[in-house]
Amino acid sequence: MTTIDVRGLTKRYGPDTVVDDLSFTVAPGQVTGFLGPNGAGKSTTMKMIMGLAAPTRGSATIGGRRYRDLPVPLAEVGALLDAGAVHGDRKAYDHLLALAVSNGLPRRRAGEVLARTGLEGVAGKRAGGFSLGMRQRLGIAAALLGDPAVLIFDEPVNGLDPEGIRWIRDFMRSLAREGRAVLVSSHLMSEMAQTADHLVVIGRGRLIADIGMSEFLRAGGEGTVLVRTPEPGAFARRLTSAGATVRGGPESSLVVSGLTSGEIGKLAAYHGVELSELTPQRPSLEDAFMELTKDSVEYQGASA
């Protein structure tokens, strides 16, 4: 079982600290979402893990070794850093064959990964004519060449159509089910909700949260219940006296927190109030993210 260990990783470009004392672990068998707004330092962190950028301080290791000390890099780590990272004049098969040969992998691997990513039909085509989705698949094919235990994807769904997004999402899930450690970055919270088991959230290069997905959602607070009734004013007073917090929602609906939908239903039945809608609402990942980052920022401010 191979893990990625990031310890005290720091990167400065001149006066700018892009990654600031970052530590986290990417465990095997699950998808770890690497979340943060644009410019948070996600790509730089991934480049440092891959040995493409040198850390100012700290270390990133894969199975206890630095990337450049891996004897067969492609057999340990597969990475999709940039969808366009293929020469447009080169055939898909040649691109993969050269990579396989450089690491001493069997030549047949090029054909096998083309089949797994559904590209066998365009193996002899030059990559310049590929759509973004096909390039993305070719990049993933390259990442799978050495059957690695660790996979790193930088913004893999950027610019893809819904079908491509679903394909990549399912693919990452299946890679994790096979026991691999999958690290995938995104700036879209909603994307992560359907993909990741674990979240590493950073902002301005600093760690904000290193947390399981379910815990992350709970951190966003309890859900609310949307209630519609012909007599909102009267029912709101009854809800408040029952201990709920009520605020006005769209189209004179009520947004209730502090009571479950079941309790609200009982209350309405007891008082004979007619309800036209009673909908529990889960907190969105965005809400959870805002809640969490707000706390972290306050915490950091207090400790500084």
Binding site: D89, L99, S102, G104, G146
Partner: protein
């Protein structure tokens, strides 16, 4: 194939697969021969008339071998573009990250690129110089003016020297491409080195004139002549000096390539 491992031999093979799979590689080589031999054809077609109107002293200096190789002036730019693209095309497409992820030992990777490109450049350079020589001599013979034979004094040395000169320019270009990381910058620098500096060298201060002795298109190209130029009595030393300069550029390229973030 035995157990997976990154070895220099495998990197050479991988770089060869990458180079041969690009149409641009073959277009550039086709262009090298079309333009190179085309210039030889044009210059040699009028050489007979030049000889006829030459004075006795000028006929003493008549160098049919050197004349047939003057195409190197343009050929060095084309072979230089090929060398530059070996590195800069990977930066332009972002492929360099994929390549370095597969081969994190960067010095081995760059060495493999240099060796593969040098091998192609030596073969292409020698082939062009020999083809140009034979084409040129055939055209001279057809005009009834003195021409050279492969066994003639200094002929083989001049033709082979021309091929090596072109290979050295290709290596210089790889170094420039690695340092600049962009095709336009590297190409501008190469043009500056092989065309502009020689053109303005006359106005340089005297302490810089020594450098001209080893400069491309100047002293280093003296090896392509069979009639000795009194300014360069030992032309192979001049070419050797240029090769030292190329080695220095390549050494700098290795240093920055290992250090820089990609």
């Amino acid at each position: 194939m035995s157990s997976p491992k990154v070895t220099f031999g495998r990197l050479l093979l991988a770089e060869w697969i990458k180079l041969r799979g690009l149409r641009s590689t073959w277009y550039t080589l086709a262009c090298l021969f079309a333009v190179g031999l085309g210039i030889t054809f044009l210059t040699m077609s009028s050489a007979g008339a030049d000889y006829a109107s030459a004075t006795a002293a000028e006929r003493q200096e008549w160098d049919p071998t050197g004349l047939s190789l003057t195409t190197y002036i343009v050929a060095q730019l084309i072979i230089g573009v090929a060398g530059i693209l070996v590195v800069t095309s990977e930066y332009a497409t972002g492929l360099m990250r994929t390549t370095l992820a597969a081969t994190p030992r960067r010095h081995l990777l760059l060495a493999a690129k240099v060796v593969v490109a040098a091998a192609v450049a030596v073969v292409a350079g020698q082939a062009l110089m020999f083809a140009s020589f034979f084409l040129g001599q055939a055209l001279l013979a057809g005009q009834g003016v003195p021409y050279a034979r492969p066994g003639g004094e200094g002929v083989l040395s001049a033709v082979a020297g021309g091929g090596l000169y072109l290979a050295a320019i290709a290596l210089l270009s790889i170094g420039l491409g690695t340092i600049m990381r962009a095709t336009a910058g590297a190409l501008a620098t190469l043009v500056g080195i092989v065309f502009l500096v020689p053109a303005v060298a006359g106005i340089f201060p005297s302490w810089l004139q020594g450098l001209v002795t080893f400069w491309p298109t100047r002293g280093a190209a003296a090896v392509l002549a069979t009639v000795p130029d009194p300014a360069y009595p030992h032309p192979w030393l001049n070419l050797g000096g240029m090769c030292l300069g190329v080695a220095a550029v390549l050494a700098a390229a290795f240093v920055v390539f290992r250090r820089r973030d990609v």
